[in-house]
Symmetry: C2
Subunit: 122 residues, 2 copies
């Protein structure tokens, strides 16, 4: 654990946090001015590999990093401003995929992105 890695982990703390790598870098620089972009990417990649952070790409642009990795959840995204909330649907999302629709895959996970307008945009 180096100071660089600690800063990246600190920046990614809290609920409903979904920063891009660039945003993580900007906030890390505020605390540790000489931290390099490559270090942020490396550290984010390691956190994802360790299962401490989940990576999501809700818009096909920059990936976002979500530190809420220990409680399974899905994401609700505003189609207008892009704000993201963590949400917890009821039931098992895999249960609604019938065997005949699995094409022989061993399905292990379902990522759901709910889309709509947030209160501020609607």
């Amino acid at each position: 654990m180096t100071s660089q890695r600690r800063v990246v982990a600190e920046v990614l703390a809290g609920d409903h946090v979904h920063l891009t790598a660039d945003e993580v870098h900007a906030r890390a620089v505020a605390r540790l001015p000489e931290i390099a972009r490559a270090t942020v990417y490396n550290t984010l990649g390691e956190l994802v590999a360790l299962g401490e952070v989940v990576e999501l790409s809700t818009d096909g642009r920059a990936k976002r990093y979500d530190p809420n990795a220990h409680r399974p959840h899905q994401h609700l995204v505003c189609s207008d401003c892009g704000i993201i909330r963590d949400v917890h649907p009821t039931g098992d999302p895999l249960a609604v995929l019938p065997p005949g629709e699995r094409f022989g895959f061993s399905v292990s996970k379902a990522d759901v992105t709910y889309r709509g307008l947030c209160p501020a945009c609607s």
Copy 2:
């Protein structure tokens, strides 16, 4: 309707077709050698705006274009080789998101990506 647009539409025909813009361009060039990349991007953008094609980004890399836009469906992706199948889960995916988990959003749509290993990779 120009020859360029017709070629792009023809390239994107069929079931379980999920090509990237570059793949569409490569196949379009095979039929119409002088077609430009920008034209392919423009045409894909128009097809998406018209609702004839849906855009998906299952891996945070290149967007893919799915001509199966008229029957609602979700996607099943192999975590290893990336192959994509269109699937039809039962029920309404929005129904499992309770009002208390909507944070005041007017939710209109749920994009589900099922992940697992395809028969060839498992």
